[in-house]
């Protein structure tokens, strides 16, 4: 059980309220005692050590903190961790299996869809959610779906290319299976 930040602190004392929450993170159930005001992004990063979720702005604008909440992209800097109690959260660390990258991850590498990499986890998760909804998006669909995620490095053109590349690969894979 993790009591966030308290590994170095003196006992927070009885007057610091805590709540026990259970969240399924990347398929694994995690139970933690936390202060009710703790943000989901901070629980993931500091509490659970999943530092692939980044915080860029704290104002719900940049999307670097995007995670999938019951499959939908949300900005984890603007959600309290207690709100996630009983829900399912996927972070970038959950995208690949031990041996295989998700096609979106492959696409970003293949099409140079990242430079500094800071926006990338959020971009990829928003893209994954789009492709699950819409396996055959147009360029405009991709641009619209990613318009809640800022990138300061790439100019987006290669990000769009990456997502379309992944869409094609996923369609081909699903076609083969069918």
């Amino acid at each position: 059980m993790t009591s966030l930040y308290n590994e170095v602190a003196a006992d927070p004392g009885a007057d610091t309220p805590t709540r026990r929450v259970s969240i399924t993170v990347n398929g694994e159930q995690r139970t933690v005692d936390i202060e009710p005001r703790l943000l989901l992004a901070h629980l993931l990063r500091q509490g659970l050590g999943l530092t692939g979720t980044h915080t860029g702005c704290d104002t719900t604008n940049c999307g670097a903190c995007t995670v999938l909440f019951d499959g939908r992209p949300i900005k984890s800097c603007t959600m309290l961790a207690v709100q996630a109690d009983g829900h399912d959260v996927e972070t970038v660390e959950g995208m690949a299996t031990a041996s295989e990258l998700h096609p979106v991850q492959e696409g970003f590498k293949e099409c140079h869809g990242l430079q500094c990499g800071f926006c990338t986890p959020g971009m990829m998760l928003a893209s994954k959610a789009l492709l699950e909804r819409n396996p055959n998006p147009t360029e405009d669909d991709v641009r619209w779906a990613l318009s809640g995620n800022l990138c300061r490095c790439t100019g987006y053109q290669n990000i769009v290319k990456s997502v379309l590349w992944a869409a094609e690969k996923m369609r081909a894979e699903n076609g083969e299976e069918a």
Binding site: Q46, H54, A64, G117, L150, R152
Partner: protein, 792 residues
Amino acid sequence: MSVDEIKIGGMGASRRRVEDNRFIRGKGKYVDDVVLPGMLHMEILRADVAHARIKSIDTSAAWEVPGVRLVLTGEMMAARNLAWMPTLSYDTQAVLATDKVRFQGQEVAAVIADDPYIAKDACAKIVVEYEALPVIVNPDQAQSPDAPLIRDDKENQPTNKIFDWEIGDKSGTDKAFEEADVISTIDLHYPRSHPSPLEPCGSIADYDRSTGKLTVYMTTQAPHIIRAAVAMVAELPEHQIRIISPDLGGGFGNKVPVYPGYVISILASILTERPVKWIEDKTGNLISTGFGRDVYLQGQMALRKDGKILGMRMHTISDHGAFYADAQPTKFKIGLMHSTFACYDVPAAHLTSTGYYTNKAPGGVAYRCSFRVTEAMFFQERMMHAAANDLGMDQAEFRRVNLVKDDMFPYRTAFGFLTDSGQYDKCMQVGMEAIGYDTFKEEQEEARKRGRLLGLGISTMTEPLGAGNSREYDILGIKMFDSAELRVHMTGKAILRTGAKTQGQGHETTWAQIVAHELGIPADDIVVEEGDTDTAPFGMGTYASRSTPVAGAAVAMAARKVRAKARKIAAHLLEVSEEDIEWELGRFYVRGNHDRGVTIQDCALAAYSNMPDGMEPGLENVSYYDPPNLTWPFAAYFCKVEVDPATGVWDVLKFVAVDDCGVRINPMIVEGQVMGGLTEAYAMANMQYITFDESGNCIGSNYMDYLLPTAWETPGFELHEVVTPCPHHPIGAKGIGECATVAGPAAFVNAVMNAIEHTGVRNVDMPLQPNRVFEALQTGQDVSGMPPVKVE
């Protein structure tokens, strides 16, 4: 047989990036991802007013919050001689304010606590009593005789003026103006903009009293300069300071200066004997760290009727904020502003500059820019646009008449730079063809008949990248060379370290490609490390598009020296004299007997197991590269827009970018740099600026007010290339990172102006927001961006 260069990921290969393997898995390590045992967390209290005397600071309530370990104020810093620190431009900057606050967002106190939430809580409990002072938010107010003195802390600073500076030939320029048929003028403001990398700044200071060692993880583009600065400021021995710049979430010049937060975290760690982490929030980043631009640009051009430029004059008035902290070569007070007009044959030129203090955050960082080159080229291309119109000449034709011709290189500019090479007219032709230049005027007229407003804008430029040779370029006296260390292991694999620091440019990928090109070792067999001052050779860091021109050259030179040694080993292994050895990629062979040879990997093994008598073992080299000149890439950008007359909204219909950055190490990465740069150019032309109200409140202190383009707004770009190898760079490469940000804005603005200038308007200042464009269309008058803005 020699190895196939593209197959081994050598030069010219669009090699997929090595660093991506960790980034796409969320395994990058940025400063905030580093966790040290026993680490404390720091939060900074910032001034909420722009200019005020501090009457008192009461920290008692903050100390009482459980979990608070330390509260620092300016007074406590002063007791340790740390209340002020030097800037990169030989000024001083407050670390924590002692006497006054001089801009909104200035650091006033800091709380160090067990967790960041507690530190924030406690910060809110600090009570500061201020006595308000009149606020100055632009140079106009700063120079008024009754303006309050912002820097009353300094001796010999009777006014708010920082410098007067000039360069060029005044009398020759005056003469050109006497002989002119036409004189064209322009008056512009390049607004304040924040580089705003997605990741804000931060540091973790870890002082170990038992060893005396200070380790600082830090968001810095220039770790070695920081080490020197920390040694000076904190008076610690340099060998006991280790700066580690881990993965950076973008930099764009914002992460070059030394910020108060770094210094405070260091002192906090020394005092608490615990690691102290400071991670700035976005507002802290936007209101207090290095801005770019904020300069007024006034120009005049002397012209002959036939379109020949005879001379130009330029005056700049720059707003540096409360501390003159520009990151730039020491010799030049307003950066390389005098690189303006370097691509044109201009016989006489003169530049005067004045800089002022204001009650704004310190600015003047090179925001994706080689020290004010962005302003210089924006001015140049807006001036060219106005001059062509005044002459009644076609925009492309006017540029082609005046561009430096291929046979004129090396070309000495009126301000004394020596441009190295280029095929400017060829770039123009490629671009004109791609945008459909020849048919545009007809198209424009047709459209206008139907009430649609189309415009086409051009921007061309060469810029000085890769500061720089040690005769001219230094920062605080340190010459601007760079370095590389290459160690080839006995199995033929290698490690390369440089004094540069990647922030998304992909050095881990491209540096290995240079080594592969020089040695024939596959790029996948070479690991690249940067950013740790304990292991990397001394370098000046990555900014101003200098890494490929300087550090990249050092990589090539280190590899060549390794090859020279390997050649001796090859001669020994092949039992011939060195003169009889020939090289092809990856392999030495005996002249006249191509089959008899040894690979570079054979030589590496022999360097550790079978070296010739008397030879020092090992196969490695450290090279320092002092560039003979800057590199001079060329850009020709063409932008076609449509302006909606009912709203002033403009859309990019097509954008063509022709870039000549010499030999391309990795074409994929070069194109990525250009597209990213164009997007920042589009942002500045369209929406991205920070301004201040009359009270010095920063408008644009978060991403709700500071607009950055998303995937939705950002147009697509069509890229073209022309290659003119740099004659003095070991692999013929030139800088590229900033070209698009530098040349881009004028292309957008010229296009919009071209669409609306039939109304008589000559200039709308950036950003060209719909309301400004609409106003210009309605009134036919110029729209100035002169701050302060009124907030309704």
